[in-house]
Amino acid sequence: MVKEVFSSVASKYDVMNDAMSMGVHRLWKDEFVSLLKPGSTRVGKVTRCIDVAGGTGDIALRILDYAREKKADRDLVVDLVDINPEMLKEGQKRFRKTMYHGTPQVAFHVGNAQELGQERFPDNTYDIYTIAFGIRNCTDIPAVLREAHRVLKPGGVFACLEFSKVTQPALASMYESYSFSVIPLLGTIMAGDRASYQYLVESIRRFPSQEDFSRMISDAGFEVGEPEDGGAWRNLWGGISAIHTGVKVA
């Protein structure tokens, strides 16, 4: 079902993100990547990144740009994985407009976050694992976290950007009415597809809270910070979205 939803939204995905979040998702993604500081100033050191549910390439592109601009790193490699081929096609289309097309720095793979596969994604390979606005669509979140743990090198970083729980009551009720009223209507108007966007807001509501999710990350074998804002997670815009990080114990 998830695959069908994303097939129907693929071509308008980026436009819809801008419309629904009024462009704010760009700020969140910028902050997410800045927090990670991907890349190395040491020439020749290959930092291997895997961006799962990467779809249209927002995070992958930001990682490559950060490494290039801030660290002068052109050896960093990103493997972009998504379960949906249409989303990957949109990602490839976007990358054709950039300097990374045709270079070994980016590679596209069709894959399932819950089961990446031993052959293409062996154990202990990656320095950074990112998943942005993708994990809530996975039916078995612990399986995704186990796979993330498997493919990361010891000392590697797990980072997840996802919609989360808004704790502040006034903001929470405004956000709720915005989500359940405006978002499905925007989907109807802009994409002619109410059902997919209704699914979107419901999947956001179903997702575990910051504390619960950080506990799941810790259960998968990652070392996380204190269970508070600024520790295991960092709230963005009052908790509308949150960045969860963990390190694979060496």
Binding site: S181, V182, L185, L186, T188, I189, M190, G192, R194
Partner: protein, 289 residues
Amino acid sequence: MAAPRLIPRSIRRSNNFYLESRYVLPIVSQARHVTKPAYEGHIPLNWAENAFMAVGSAVMSLLDPRRGDMIAALGETTAGNSLYHLREQMLESPEGRKILRERPRVNTDTVDMEKLSALPEGTFGRAYTNWLERCGVTPDTREPVHYIDDPELAYVIQRYRECHDFYHALCNLPVNVESELALKWFEFVHFGLPMAGLGAVFGPLRLNAEKRERLFREYIPWALRCGSTAKPLITVYWEERWEQNIVDMKQELGIWDPPPAVWSKALKESQKAKEKRQARMPDSASIKS
């Protein structure tokens, strides 16, 4: 809906029902928040969502006129009190009351296209199928109703939408932009639907100067005159009048032809539907050939 009971009988029976109901029924109550869907496809909206949808669908309809679902949404979110008025018209005529009781639908499942195209020339049914073929359209492209809370009023607007092609056939107008606009002017004057008014006013902005000039010089005077004097078309039970002579029908309803239109190449919908029908029933296809 509770609203009609609030209207005194004297006002309901008066000829100026539409004018008076504007003061009695606040527009907001039309889109009161309803939690449970009242019929299949019903999406209840509160007044704020309704307003948002009205503006959004208006913008989208202008940006992409091929979005039939947006044009339909605009019609429903801006309907206001006009649907009460149309229902009153139907309740006042025996034919209209029959339509409200039986709720006929117009699509290729309910309308027997083969039978109609076999009718003699000069009948309404034959004129309708001739028009469908000439334009290359089918009666299957109408979006279902989503944003009207009362199921009977939802049917009224659905009926208006589905009968739109009958008006085309009756007035002998093709499906190009100028003819659609002429018909929108006619519908605005005749049915009083705000959406028809919006289409009528903003639609011409998309025409080039020459077509717009022709629209204002020839079609709009026809639409204004014919639309205001014709018998209420929403009360006409078209499905029982297939065999009626079209000239007699026009005289009965008070409709006369607009200035001749420019017919362009037919759209492909009708051809595709014909092929699909013939593939389903190979026997009838062999009879025809």
